[in-house]
């Protein structure tokens, strides 16, 4: 059931770049969940981004080939640390970009094979088989068997410290002066060494004298190999612990930075709220802004800037919530739902600007709740902005009012997108903005993309210039009210050029516009 999930969708890394950005490989770990034996195949498949079944098949295929599969499996089992690859990848992310709240896993509790018990059982069964064989008169070469068993036990003792590293550390701290790992190591070395010696002695006893020199060399090498095998896990563990501790320290300090930042901002906001307790609207606004910031820190995987339109959209929502108020001066929360994500480009920039205008309209003139829905995929981006106000008549908007006509509908059409405003009495107003695909087909022939991008940018320029100060503007100043001299004035200056461009773009955009207006009349 579980095994293939890690790999079926390829290596996934939470919070990696948006669509089109290559995701880094998952680190090599042996996952606890979904493993059959040691989790080697599962982890390897996740690391390489190939199906788990294939890796398992290869291991099985290689097993009879002089035991290569088994040896490889055993080596990886011992050398690869256990853990969830996705978690490891998450932990490797800089914590400035990681959410702080603990992730809750949907995982059912894991079931592990009682490997120690199985190993003991196998050894006992083997011993029993050997005993019975000896009793029934079979010629078992006990002289080889005993040393081999001793070597195996010694190796097992030495290697067992790898998986039990955590337990050992705990015991070494609470217990006596001599850590158990040292006992293990010494015991392992002793056992393995004596086993190897016994083996050599056995062969020497039967061998002929001239071969003694060779045998001595063989013995020495055997002892060295034995000791090396015994020491390897100890060395591996040392290296691993060092790396772990270093990473943990780096994470700790980063977390401390974040905590400091959070405390500062929250405490400051609380102080501000106390100072202005008699202004409910202001208090509500500050609380909302602080809540948003906290949520961002706690629950969002903060993407690198410029890689996510979802993040850009959140920034716009924050700006509108902070700077605009409803008709009675009350702050309005915008319920935001984002599905999918993609990298921003010139088209989505225009879309986001149009979205901002629609949000401002909904907050200032509509009635809460205001909902914002963005759906981004490879084949287009769609935005819905909805409020519960009575709406307005699109055709009734005077030519001198540029808010809806220019900055929403015009802006979208110039980029080859579609904008629709739907008002239905009692059911609120909904603005629908959409770009299909990369928007290529909506662009007029002979107009290079850069050229087509110009008018929108020019149209956006004046108000963008005014945007940083938007928070200082009185809430009554709106884009849709007739008496709003500065912005409207500025836009009119740009209008002729914009108008011209629109005629150029008209043929290609025609069908969409027709559809849009048909909807607008509904």
């Amino acid at each position: 059931m579980l095994p293939d999930d890690l790999t079926a969708r390829g290596p996934v890394l939470p919070g990696a770049g948006a669509r089109g950005v290559p995701r880094p490989r998952l680190p090599l770990r042996r996952p606890e969940r979904g493993r059959w034996v040691g989790g080697v195949a599962l982890g390897l498949a996740a690391h390489l981004g190939v199906p788990t079944a294939l890796v398992r098949f290869l291991f099985v295929l290689l097993a009879p080939v002089a035991g290569v599969g088994l040896a490889l499996y055993g080596f990886l089992w011992l050398a690869v640390p256990a853990g969830d690859p996705a978690d490891a990848a998450r932990a490797a992310r800089p914590s400035a970009l990681t959410r702080l709240a603990r992730r809750q896993s949907a995982a059912e509790p894991t079931r592990r094979l009682p490997l120690t018990d199985i190993a003991v059982g196998v050894v006992l069964v083997l011993a029993a088989v050997v005993l019975i064989a000896v009793r029934s008169g079979a010629d078992v070469d006990v002289g080889w068997l005993l040393p081999a068993l001793i070597v195996l036990v010694g190796l097992a003792l030495a290697w067992s410290q790898l998986d039990a590293a955590q337990r050992d550390r705990w015991r070494a701290r609470t217990g006596g002066r001599m850590p158990v790992s040292v006992v293990r190591l010494l015991g392992g070395v002793l056992l393995a060494g004596s086993g190897v010696l016994l083996l050599v002695a056995e062969s020497a006893g039967r061998g002929v004298a001239p071969a003694e020199l060779v045998q001595a060399v063989v013995a020495a090498v055997a002892v060295l190999v034995g000791v090396g095998l015994v020491l390897a896990p100890w060395w591996l563990r040392l290296v691993r612990e060092l790396g772990d501790e270093r990473a943990a320290r780096a994470r700790e300090s980063e977390r401390a930075d974040i905590a400091a930042h959070l405390h500062d901002s929250v405490l400051q906001t609380l102080a501000l709220i106390r100072a202005r307790a008699d202004e409910p609207a202001e208090v509500a606004r500050m609380a909302r802004a602080q809540e948003r910031e906290l949520r961002e820190w706690l629950y969002a995987d903060r993407p690198a800037p410029g890689t996510s339109i979802a993040a850009a959209l959140r920034a716009i929502v924050a700006e509108v919530e902070d700077s605009r108020s409803g008709p009675q001066g009350e702050p309005v929360a915008i319920e935001t739902v984002v599905v999918g994500d993609r990298q921003p480009d010139a088209d989505t920039e225009a879309l986001l600007q149009a979205t901002r205008e629609a949000l401002v309209n909904a907050v200032v003139h509509g009635r809460p709740p205001v909902s914002l829905y963005l759906e981004a995929g490879a084949d287009g981006v769609e935005v819905f902005v909805r409020d519960h106000g009575d709406g307005f008549d699109v055709d009734g908007i005077g030519p001198d009012r540029f808010g809806v006509r220019e900055s929403i509908i015009g802006r979208m059409r110039r980029r080859g997108g579609a904008a629709t405003v739907t008002c239905r009495p009692g059911r609120g107003t909904e603005v629908h903005l959409a770009f299909a695909g990369r928007g290529e087909e909506g662009r007029p022939e002979g107009t290079p993309p850069e050229e087509a991008g110009r008018p929108a940018a020019a149209g956006a320029a004046p108000e963008d210039a005014g945007r940083p100060g938007a928070g200082d503007r009185p809430p009554e100043g709106t884009d849709r009210s007739p008496g709003e001299p500065p912005e409207a004035e500025q836009r009119r200056v740009v209008a002729p050029e914009v108008e011209q461009r629109r005629w150029v773009a008209a043929p290609a955009a025609e069908p969409r516009r027709g559809a849009a207006e048909g909807e607008g009349h509904r």
Partner: protein, 241 residues
């Protein structure tokens, strides 16, 4: 699809008797599980007369005990809870699996994280609402859950669309497919994500509220049973809000 023609018309417009008021006169008993006393008090005060709080619990173990003692029709359950094995709300639901026929769980969370929400839904919760919800809407949601329906907030609908890849046009063709949404279910989810109430969804699609509820329940079932075991991880990889 077929139900559009069959159930469109006036019944679809104003919703009919189905939905919120289907549970008659007596108030619905509710157990409130949240580790913040202040929040429990707030919720109790905001619920209207249609809902009665009969018990409260502050952690996983207490919640399991209280729910087993009272077997209320609805449990309002916080996603993040201390105690138990650290599994939070999902652990409470799993521990009360023997009651799932009689007791229904409505998840209540301040979290924006898809994993948290999807974890409780997959454990068996019948819906999810944010803690910012007002009292009337919460009471509506409780009644809806008590009536056996699913409650989807816009955000949960967004998670679902993202998790099932519905945004990419990945739409089921057969009814029995668990891993993908049907075109109609996707449409309903999108409208809910856009802030439409069930009633408004019904009006928009010219279907009855009952049909909307059927679709939503079907989506909930898919979310709970889908073999996309790692829905949450997958959703996280797609970087939801």
């Amino acid at each position: 699809m077929s139900e559009t023609a069959a159930e469109g018309g006036p019944g679809g417009r104003d919703g009919g008797p189905g939905g919120q008021d289907s549970v008659g006169g007596a108030p619905v008993d509710v157990v409130l599980v949240d580790d913040h006393h202040l929040f429990r008090t707030g919720v109790r005060a905001s619920l209207d007369a249609r809902v009665r709080v009969v018990g409260e619990a502050a952690d996983v173990d207490e919640a399991v005990r209280v729910v087993h003692e009272l077997t209320p029709p609805v449990v309002l359950l916080d996603v993040h809870l201390p105690g138990g094995d650290g599994g939070g709300g999902a652990e409470v639901i799993r521990s009360c699996a023997d009651l799932l026929g009689r007791t229904r769980f409505l998840a209540l969370s301040v979290s924006d994280a898809a994993e948290d929400v999807v974890a409780v839904i997959r454990a068996g919760a019948r819906g999810y609402v944010t803690k910012a919800i007002d009292g009337t809407a919460l009471s509506d949601a409780v009644l809806r859950v008590a009536g056996g329906d699913a409650v989807f907030s816009p955000r949960l609908a967004g998670f679902v669309l993202d998790a099932f890849g519905a945004a990419a046009g990945d739409v089921a063709t057969g009814d029995d497919e668990l891993d993908r949404l049907s075109a109609r279910e996707r449409e309903v989810m999108r409208l809910i994500a856009r802030g439409y109430s069930y009633r408004e969804v019904a009006a928009e699609l010219f279907i009855s509220i009952k049909t909307v509820e059927t679709h939503v329940s079907a989506v909930l079932r898919k979310l709970q049973l889908s073999s996309r075991h790692e829905l949450t991880r997958w959703a996280a990889a797609r970087r939801l809000l």
